[in-house]
Symmetry: C2
Subunit: 233 residues, 2 copies
């Protein structure tokens, strides 16, 4: 009696794994371009900056795509990860706020090597509206609802000043956007069905400052070789 749609596999991929898949994907795409056909978990892990056990466990959540004694087929793994991340289809993106940051984002060419299409840029400043940025004409923010509807925007990027962020977010959500990437330094309030990810420069700097202070205090520099950066992230 329980309504169940037929689910092929377990689909329960841990969030921590999801966050690393894009890193693996980028590394693999680099390998593919250089003509590498197969790669071991050891080697891929080293490039991606994680340890090999973690990499294998991560990949095992997608299925058994490796060959014992050999490794993983690069192209095949690129495809499987892309599919799992939902990159075999294109997602439509709209950016609100065409200041320095908004421009930087709009011009950021290889949007993760395809998978995303910028459909519109919005701004409230009439001196900016009408300008051409990254091949798009900047629209007035009041056309947001129309455009999100007609272009079927899935992801809204907020690059506005802090004070405008919640308002713009509300409008995105009201118009049907279910994923938001927030660059404004505020905590956004959204319904549970909407996903929000945030990128916050000053938070990152403050975290670094904390560790900087630690290093300055008790001077215990554990100097002993080189490690990969993502290990700590």
């Amino acid at each position: 009696m329980t309504p169940r749609s037929p689910r092929p596999r377990d689909r329960g991929i841990p969030e921590a794994t999801v966050a690393r898949l894009p890193v693996y994907l980028r590394a693999l795409q680099g390998m593919a371009e250089r003509g590498t056909l197969t790669i071991s978990s050891e080697d891929l892990a080293s490039i991606a900056g994680v340890n090999s056990a973690k990499l294998r466990k991560d990949l095992s959540h997608l299925g058994s795509y490796g060959t014992r004694g050999v490794g993983y087929d690069v192209d095949y793994l690129v495809y499987q990860i892309s599919r799992e991340l939902g990159l075999t289809q294109d997602w439509t993106v709209a950016i609100a706020g065409v200041g320095n940051l908004g421009r930087a984002l709009a011009n950021y060419g290889g949007f993760g090597t395809r998978g995303f299409r910028i459909a519109a840029l919005f701004d409230a400043d009439l001196r900016v509206v009408g300008d051409e940025v990254a091949g798009l004409v900047v629209r007035h923010i009041d056309t947001l609802e129309d455009v999100v509807g007609s272009e079927d925007v899935a992801i809204g990027v907020i690059a506005t000043p802090a004070v405008s962020a919640q308002g713009v977010c509300d409008r995105f959500v009201e118009a049907g956007v279910t994923s938001v990437l927030n660059f404004a330094p505020v905590v956004l309030n959204v319904p549970p069905a909407v996903d929000v990810r945030k990128v916050d420069l000053s938070i990152e700097l403050q975290i670094l400052a904390f560790h900087e202070q630690r290093k300055a205090d008790g001077q215990a520099p554990p100097e002993a070789g080189w490690i990969d950066a993502t290990e700590k992230t």
Copy 2:
């Protein structure tokens, strides 16, 4: 016989807590500006987008700064968190790469409401070197070592193209920088004494795409109210 420097308190603050302190700090600074004197864990947690138990446990790692039956003194807590994060001193920052993103970062005024000072901007492009950006003259990348040394730069921000990022990072590290904030889409290799944090647009988008696909597949929209964004981050 074990060499021990005298440690006042336990200083062992969990990394997850450190990452949230800046959020609390920002919320508290907002309260302080609006003249609020005290705040309960419940209210502060709600503003910061976490639950109150987590907030209390986080703050308890700094000490017992609350008053039972009352709440926390806003100004006092602002000070304690600032001190813990190392924001009572100024950290010197240098930005490498003055493209769209580098400009956006340089112009990002309230660098977390003080605590950070941009000492220099570097670029390899001679058409950019000499330009004035955010009140600073862009220097050639080859002066990096000199400036980092003379200005005592603690934090290096990498806003260069991907191909240049590791090279610039190496130069920062070699010159004595021990914290790096990386905006380039590459995994940086650094010695263990150096902290790296990364900000990666395409990774964030890909994570959103994954969840977007999930929502589209099994259409089980858990509609039931509003929550705070940071809960999921």
